[in-house]
């Protein structure tokens, strides 16, 4: 259950863009979570609520965009969304594949009220 420290990490990153004193202006935090990122979205949402509860960011929403696990095959050049982690190309059965999406764990954007806070 490392979602709690991930949720705290998200809040810390927001802190680089919005001063903590103005955390109440944060309306929404958008994150991308790949299907192979080892993070359970529901659990992350729960932990985000837990780490922001009782803080000025308590009202902020966490929007999670799931990114499907996608591989590119070197042999048949196809791109496929497949079972997370599998290296096997579903088109031609080759294992000469590289992951092109699905490992993301990123804070993408945040919505804040009123004037743009200073970037730090």
């Amino acid at each position: 259950m490392h979602e709690l420290s991930i949720a705290q990490g998200i809040v810390d990153i927001v802190g680089h863009y919005v001063p903590r004193a103005r955390f109440d202006t944060v309306r929404c935090v958008r994150v991308r979570v790949g299907d192979l990122a080892g993070v359970v979205p529901d659990s992350l949402a729960f932990c985000f609520t837990a780490v922001t509860a009782g803080t000025p960011m308590a009202e902020a929403l966490l929007e999670i965009e799931r990114v499907p696990y996608t591989i590119r095959c070197t042999d048949c050049t196809s791109e496929s969304t497949t079972e997370p982690g599998l290296a096997l190309c579903p088109r031609c059965g080759s294992i000469a594949t590289t992951i092109i999406a699905g490992t993301e764990l990123q804070v993408m954007t945040i919505d804040v009220d009123e004037e743009t806070p200073e970037h730090s």
Partner: protein, 220 residues
Amino acid sequence: MSVITIERKVLEKNDEIARENRALFADHGVYVINMVSSPGAGKTSILERTLERLRTTLRIAVIEGDVQTDLDARRVAKYNVPAVQIVTRGGCHLEANLIRDAIGNLDLKACDLLVIENVGNLVCPSNYDLGEAVKVVVASTTEGDDKPLKYPSMFRNASVLIINKIDLLPYLQSNVAVLRENALKINPSLTVFETSCTTGAGMDAWCSWLTENARQKTAS
């Protein structure tokens, strides 16, 4: 309302410290392995068998990660190698900053191989780079042959797979060939060893591989 673009990795702080750790290990010519598995797969036993064979060949140090107790560090200390215990007190994995703190208690100049034994957990440790050269995942035959498919991230991020407890195969339904095949479906470039800590089977092959890789690192 304004939108601020961030596009930053949540684990960037950990990754940054891991890079610093890696640079420090490179400066000292230390080869570092991060051993991961579910609880009870046999990481500590493999480490003990490894220390028995290699402690006179290589200068080895150990960092033990556990949720509670220093039992593992005590097991390892019997082999007269420097051992540091990290107790995470509930934390389900080791992070790069914990390793940075632990290596403060080790003399890296007097070390060829550093073995980090992670907390037993097949999920969380896969996300956290510690600065190691390779992740070694241990899967035991008693866990069944479908583990790689259920926990793909760990097998995808590892370079070596040790299939342990092969002496128990006569009593089990699980099939080593299927386990190996499933692991290679997730990560075709895995180097695979089959071991038993009870009979010692496969330990020589694993230890030769480890010695060769540690020596290459030390020489570079």
